[in-house]
């Protein structure tokens, strides 16, 4: 889950970059940037949860 979390973080950034590079600065660009940020937040949550779960095993 840790690796998946960091991959989601990177994927979200790629979505944000793609929105900036490929779309015009109008409504769709903002929506794609928002979608990329949502993916990043999911990734951050997954990475954080994986560390809590990993610590549970080592306690």
């Amino acid at each position: 889950m840790r690796v998946a979390g960091f991959l989601l973080l990177l994927s979200g950034w790629v979505i944000v970059l793609a929105a900036v590079a490929l779309l015009h600065p109008a409504a769709p660009q903002a929506w794609f940037v928002a979608a990329g940020m949502a993916v990043e937040i999911l990734g951050l949550g997954a990475a954080a949860r994986s560390y809590v779960a990993g610590r549970g095993g080592s306690r």
């Binding site: 960091f6 973080l9 990177l10 994927s11 979200g12 950034w13 790629v14 944000v16 900036v20 590079a21 490929l22 600065p25 660009q29 903002a30 940037v33 928002a34 990329g36 940020m37 990043e40 990734g43 951050l44 990475a47 954080a48 560390y51 809590v52 610590r55 549970g56 080592s58 306690r59």
Partner: protein
């Protein structure tokens, strides 16, 4: 967008130089905060580590960091994608060659950046306090100062692709604070919590600051230093006129005081008494949040930014401690990572006359979370496998002072038996 530098008036150069010379006080303040919030048996180690990482950061930045960061208008590598140029890294010579040392804007930027990269390097020490080896901290700092910091700083400050989009960060909420704060998050994950911090059931134990007076005094030092950082950054990196230093100082002060008082009020309401450590963290969080928009916000907006930053720090300290089991003795993650990201967002939300668009600020935040954090965690993961970042269990029990330095910070203190007992 950063205006190309090189056209500073004598007044602007003098004001910038004066501001830059205040900046080391921010470093001193942060070093004292980190030391005071840690344990007494690691105090000397914390201060020596602060000096060491600042030294490593400055030297590595001198060797190669600035050559990759550059300044607005300096030679850079650019590629085309989506029909637009993407300026992604500078192409300056190494060892600061090519800079004219005559008070020119690039020379002042170099001086400011030496202190800025030192400040960024100090931030992760707060999260790794009491258990991060000195040598490991220095190696991690070399990568931060030599690669990650200059790369993001180029994007944000030196005409890079983020600056081209309209991203604004006058004093370094993102480039200095969030980069350092995300490095702190990564090192907290890599090291794990201090021994005795969590029970077998995962309940956190309070490990109080060993010198609260030091921590609170450091807030005053940091306040002065931050006014210098923000003022110089506004003139040299955001192209603000020299007179705007007054607004930068006012906004910095309002954000810090607002954040400190918000933390005091919230802890008074929640715990019955104001919590000194959290108030100090709130104060610094306000300074951090003030940086990005120090000359783009009206004073009322700066105060509001500070109030929110103070609240954010108090609640996120508890959230990280209890729910995410992240042991961050110095509060580096809530203060610098969250405070920095909030400062970037607030600049887009509250800028005077809506001059700063929100979308580039969000793209900047997305880049910090989606690129900078995984990259930093990647090199910490590799470093930890080559040479363990965390001190041995015996070393942690002894304290970093005795284990790594051979002598304690306070040799005349009476050592209580329970301080050295196994938790």
């Amino acid at each position: 967008m950063n205006p190309p530098v090189g056209t500073l008036s004598d007044t602007a150069a003098a004001v910038s130089m004066f501001s830059i010379l205040l900046a080391p006080l921010a470093l001193a303040g942060l070093a004292l905060v980190n030391t005071g919030l840690g344990r007494s048996r690691s105090a000397a180690h914390a201060m020596l580590a602060s000096l060491s990482v600042v030294g490593v950061a400055v030297l590595v930045y001198f060797v190669c960091g600035f050559s990759w960061q550059g300044y607005a208008g300096s030679p850079a590598h650019v590629f085309l994608a989506g029909g637009r140029p993407w300026n992604w890294i500078a192409a300056q010579p190494w060892f600061l060659r090519g800079i004219e040392w005559n008070g020119s804007a690039p020379s002042l930027i170099v001086l400011l950046q030496l202190f800025s990269v030192g400040l960024a390097a100090l931030i992760p020490l707060g999260a790794g306090a009491d258990r991060w080896r000195l040598a490991s901290a220095c190696v991690s700092t070399a990568l931060l100062a030599g690669v990650m910091y200059p790369l993001f700083a180029h994007w944000a400050w030196a005409g890079g692709w983020l600056a081209q989009l309209g991203y604004v960060d006058a004093g370094g909420s993102g480039s200095i604070q969030a980069v350092g704060g995300l490095s702190a998050l990564s090192i907290a994950w890599t090291l794990g919590p201090r021994r005795g911090k969590y029970t077998a059931e995962g309940m956190p134990a309070a490990i109080p600051a060993h010198n609260t007076v030091l921590v609170l005094f450091a807030c005053f030092l940091a306040w002065i230093g931050w006014m210098g950082l923000n003022g110089a950054g506004a003139i040299l990196l955001a192209g603000a006129p020299a007179g705007s230093i007054v607004l930068a100082a006012v906004n910095t002060s309002l954000a810090a005081t607002g954040a400190g008082l918000a933390a005091a009020a919230i802890t008074r309401f929640r715990f019955g008494r104001p919590d000194a450590s959290l108030c100090a963290n709130g104060w610094i969080g306000g300074l951090v949040a003030s940086s990005a928009g120090c000359v783009f916000l009206a004073p009322a907006a700066a105060a509001l930014t500070g109030l929110v930053a103070g609240a954010l720090v108090v609640f996120s300290v508890e959230w990280l401690d209890v729910y995410l089991e992240i042991d961050d003795p110095g509060g580096a993650i809530p203060v610098h990572a969250l405070g920095g990201l909030w400062g970037l967002l607030a600049t887009g939300l509250f800028s005077r006359g809506g001059r700063i668009p929100l979308l580039p600020q969000i793209v900047g935040i997305g880049t910090l979370l989606g690129f900078v954090l995984p990259a930093i965690h990647g090199y910490h993961w590799v470093l930890d496998r080559i040479y363990p970042q965390r001190v041995s269990a015996e070393g942690e029990r002894q304290g970093m002072d005795l284990h790594e330095l051979g002598a304690g910070a306070y040799p005349e203190f009476v050592i209580h038996r329970e301080d050295f007992g196994q938790r």
